[in-house]
Amino acid sequence: MSELILESDSGAELTLNMGPQHPSTHGVIRFVIKTDGEIMREADPDVGYLHRAIEHIAERVGYEGFMPYTDRVDYVCAMTANHVWAAAVEKLGALPVPRRGEYLRVISDELNRISSHCIALGAMAMDLGAITPFPYALREREYVNDLLEALCGARLTYHYHRLGGVGWDLPAGWRDRCLAWIDHFEPVIDEFDRLITYNEIFCKRLGGVAAITAAEAIDYGLVGPNLRASGVRFDLRVDEPYSVYGEILAALPGFEVPIGDGRMGAVGDAWDRFRVRVDEWRGSVKLLRVALDQIEKTEPGHWDRPKKTRFKGEAFARIETARGDMGCYVVGDGTANPYRARFRTGSFNAMAIVREKSRGLMLADLVALIASLDVVAPEIDR
């Protein structure tokens, strides 16, 4: 049916602006929508409203000084953005990281992944008109924020990872507090499933909407949960283990990376993208339990601060963030400042597929598409 309307030549095409200030664009993005009634011919994303030239700032502030700016690359999941910068510079400068520091990184990353998915899933349900799940998800995020605040003093832009480790060790009693919260959170995931994931209205609303095939997902460079929802079983934590994920996964035989299976319509539809994230909560909780157990056996020492931060050469590092595989490329010329820093982020690639996917889509489903891709505007623009 959509094709018929696309081919009709009524000449009554309407150009609409959605955004830049629109509650369901998840930040400041504008879509130029060409539409003929309810069915879109095309939605062209116009990005750049949040371009703060973070890559350019890196060239002015030095390797260590840049770390707080990486929080602002993706403020919903700032820990992993810290981590990717640290990993890239450590690879460039061959810097050692103490094992306890690596465990603290994994623990903070996984907690932040959970809280980021809380925002993604809660906001997605709310964008589609289901108000109730949002406060449920945000309540859990508040608990995570409390834990991260106790760890590093901040609730959003953490600046916790440092070159060569992390800023602080675990405070007294933190481990038990975290375990108590995990015990509370695990049943909440099942509750969330009953509340919204398998809610019949929600399944029918999202099943088959904006399905992305595996070939398309790879071609457009989708990463993380968006890629896995299309049926590609690839997770950097499992397939290219970095930090101490190898050791943690060794204690978790049978750890499965969730992928989309099209049970509500088509593989890679908006519902699959939602469900994959819910299942990632379960995965993160498992990883957290093992990490909290194994960190007990590590030697004290969380940070080997590098004596000198002048590097020459280039390095590329990848980290699995909440929005997927984030790449950081850093070039040093031997001075105190990086010569070039580059972030390739999940939201950027996800945004590039919107134009293609919007053709023939219902206007109301554009919101479902954007929300299910979990784009965060500052991560697109940087």
Binding site: V47, G48, A53, G221, D325, Y329, R342, A352
Partner: protein, 195 residues
């Protein structure tokens, strides 16, 4: 099968003897106990890049289906712009890096949007920020900067304009303001201004 960079480079060089230079490999540092060694880079002749890219994508032993990252680096003193491509194969789980070197004043490289569709936005971004022209790109518009912006802001010799359409886009350095405030009110120097 996962292949090391030297093997990937040898396969490329065999397929394109005129398009590929010597492999640039930096030795893994002995002090690096945690991380992987740095990546080896294949230099590619800009004019041959499209054919090399097709080989990278389609060769049965390479199958680089994911263009992870596309970066331009402006080397002002050498008068060169390097365009760096980071590739990964979901099939074989190996990665490779290719580098194109073009003169700053004639920065033109072939577009690879026909090989990887993700190159569309990545190329638009680098065109916007560095002024690298990707020949054959179907829609080479600015991505992040406003359409009527003059110049390419990430170039090393780019200077911030004073205003954009009459709106001032410069402001005093806040650190200097803090230092001024502290010096006048408290008689102390702010830590950030001590040099």
């Amino acid at each position: 099968m996962k292949r090391p960079a030297a093997e990937i480079h040898a396969l490329l060089a065999a397929a394109h003897p005129e398009g590929i230079g010597e492999l640039v490999a930096e030795a893994a540092d002995a002090a690096n106990k945690n991380g992987a060694p740095r990546d080896a880079v294949s230099p590619v002749v800009a004019g041959k890049w499209l054919e090399v890219a097709r080989t990278l994508r389609t060769h049965a032993d390479l199958q680089m289906d994911f263009l992870q990252c596309l970066t331009a680096v402006d080397w002002l003193k050498q008068g060169e712009i390097h365009v760096v491509y980071h590739l990964y194969s979901y099939v074989h789980r190996h990665a490779h890096v290719c580098r194109l070197v073009v003169p700053r004043d004639a920065a033109r490289v072939p577009s690879v949007t026909s090989v990887w569709r993700t190159a569309d936005w990545l190329e638009r971004e680098q065109y916007d920020l560095f002024g690298v022209v990707f020949e054959g790109h179907p829609d080479l518009r600015r991505l992040l900067m406003p359409d009527d912006w003059i110049g390419h802001p990430m170039r090393k010799d780019a200077r911030e304009p004073r205003d954009y359409r009459g709106m001032s886009i410069q402001r005093p350095n806040p650190l200097e303001l803090v230092a001024l405030h502290d010096a006048t009110r408290l008689g102390v120097q702010h830590e950030g201004s001590k040099k």
